[in-house]
Point group: C2
Chain length 317, copies 2
DNA sequence: AATTAAATGCTCGTTATGAGCATAATGAGG
DNA sequence: CCTCATTATGCTCATAACGAGCATTTAATT
């Protein structure tokens, strides 16, 4: 079935990492080159597996063991097959979670809040004004500029599904689709990198720091995966210190999800899932009543089978 | 950051496809070589993107347009970096859904029920006797054979999470983890391919047809993805004819999930999600009261933002 | 001692979900 | 023609999950 590969079909593998840490309620991502790139490394002969390749060079760079690693996506679309004899690059991206951040001295690599790249994704203090005041109007104009009426309707619907009305129906998981929509609408600087800058009318881009190549897209993919995953797997704990208060845990989840949560219900959820156990100690770092300290119950990684199902199953016959 | 790639780091990309169709309530997968392989093709210079590469050779093979395509996973672990100068192979796998099956004449490629490969995954007629009578006892023996007590406990827990007790707590999404567990326990023939056959005591493998290389694992990955996805995205319809009854739709979902569902509740779910609309016609192919025919409302792909969240969000401030 | 900031406990209404009863509309068999 | 088997479809009920918010407790601060 598979014919022997031609020389010209050889590619080079590049590994990209979305490496996430959490400090002072900010979700941080490791960047290079003044924030313009995600760290990446080659997949070399000495690596037995892809994941060990990622671990190897990330740990060398950050000087810290990488707790959790998960494959994100494989892209080969960035550069067309080169006719000049240079090999095509296939990039495989990974999401990594780590507890400690790099010593602050170095300027490059640097940890940055991911909300610098996606400011409209931070709804922790309520609906982002950026969405209602800047993004929705611009997207609206883009929808109106569509060729025919059918396309207009489709655009409006996509905008509505992904961005809501600026106040309600915000779904934090849709970060990737939102970025892609902005990209299509020409509202991020990356769009203009791609095409002939002269012919595309230069629109004022939406606030948010761009990255080179498709790295901001990869970052969005990583955030989307993480935001989805915290809902059914206890991955937050990879980012937490060994002992923490429930409020600290809540702030961590809020930082990742970009949304505020209901304190008492958050505790109820954590509690009834048996995710944590008290260490016995408590802390009074903040002003009010001292909070009990908890630790993650490692066992639950084994215990918990996701039972969640949205299908109307019937009892075993 | 990325040093210029050495010649030896060049790899060849192989694309694998888990191509699914549905006929007479059986979930079918396209196989080659008497069922021992998944179809695969090279990623060649002429393909602009990975996905177009997959589409190109799958459509050529099946003579049918491929509705839905989704990337599954990228493996590079199968073969260690070759010292003999042959290039390493990285395989990128895709899940594809198609409505029509290949003309039945050809013997190769061939559509086969995926339950031939994973017979223990079919719980449509109630708990699989294979699990309770064959698999659990063998896994139990494997757990007992562990080195120390801690490892025994861990193995027992993993078995329990993934296989339940043979009657309750079956989670159809865990198909990949179950296969991996059986692999580790040496209960599938593939295990013995890998290692030195002489030294590993040959245990009677669990029923279920093996595949070459890691193709059964890739198949499990595809099924797992599909089983998870039907719960929050209307992908079943990619496998349905243009018009269908609600019972046919239910049987399709049951075929994929490998579990029976509650008829009335299934209808309620479909109904309140507005996934379908009546065509006006009805059918009396079966005996009882004629059933109304429905069609999928294409619009919902746009309409539906997944709202599902398991976090205790609070109302926007 | 009063005030303030958290932590923590508990209740309430709404919705989603699992189960099952009841009725309707056909074809098959007598 | 009548009865039965079979499938479709409508509806109710109990329970669990979830969003909201009130009330109480416990410390630091003023």
């Amino acid at each position: 079935m598979t014919p022997p590969p031609a020389i010209s079909d050889a590619v080079t593998i590049e590994l990209n990492a979305v490496l996430v840490a959490l400090t002072e309620n900010q979700p941080l991502v490791l960047t290079l080159d003044d924030g313009a790139l995600l760290p990446s490394g080659p997949f070399a002969t000495e690596h037995p597996t892809l994941q060990s390749g990622v671990r190897a060079w990330v740990e060398r760079q950050t000087q810290h063991p990488l707790g959790y690693v998960e494959q994100l996506y494989t892209f080969a679309d960035r550069n067309r097959p080169a006719s000049d004899g240079r090999r095509r690059v296939v990039s495989i991206s990974y999401l990594g979670l780590t507890r400690e951040r790099l010593s602050a001295g170095a300027r490059d690599p640097e940890w940055r809040s991911w909300y610098r790249y996606f400011p409209w994704e931070d709804w922790r203090a309520g609906p982002s004004p950026l969405v209602a005041q800047t993004i929705l109007p611009q997207l609206s104009a883009w929808a109106d500029a569509a060729g025919d009426v059918a396309q207009q309707r489709e655009r409006r619907q996509r905008i509505d599904v992904n961005f809501g009305d600026g106040a309600e129906n915000w779904n934090e998981d849709l970060i990737l689709q939102r970025y892609e929509l902005l990209y299509e609408a020409g509202l991020v600087p990356e769009t203009q990198q791609e095409r002939h800058r002269a012919t595309v009318p230069t629109i004022e881009p939406v606030p948010g720091m761009p990255m080179r190549h498709d790295h901001r897209r990869i970052l969005a993919t990583g955030i989307a995966r993480l935001r989805a995953k915290i809902k059914y797997r206890p991955v937050v704990f990879e980012l937490m210190p060994p002992a923490f208060t429930l409020l600290q845990l809540q702030r961590a989840v809020e930082a990742l999800a970009g949304r505020p949560m209901h304190k008492q219900n958050f505790r109820r959820l954590i509690d009834q899932q048996g995710l944590v156990e008290p260490t016995g100690a408590s802390t009074s770092e903040t002003r009010g009543r001292p909070a009990k300290l908890f630790r993650f119950r490692r066992e639950v990684v084994l215990e918990r089978a996701v039972q969640g199902t949205k299908l109307p199953l019937s009892r075993p016959i």
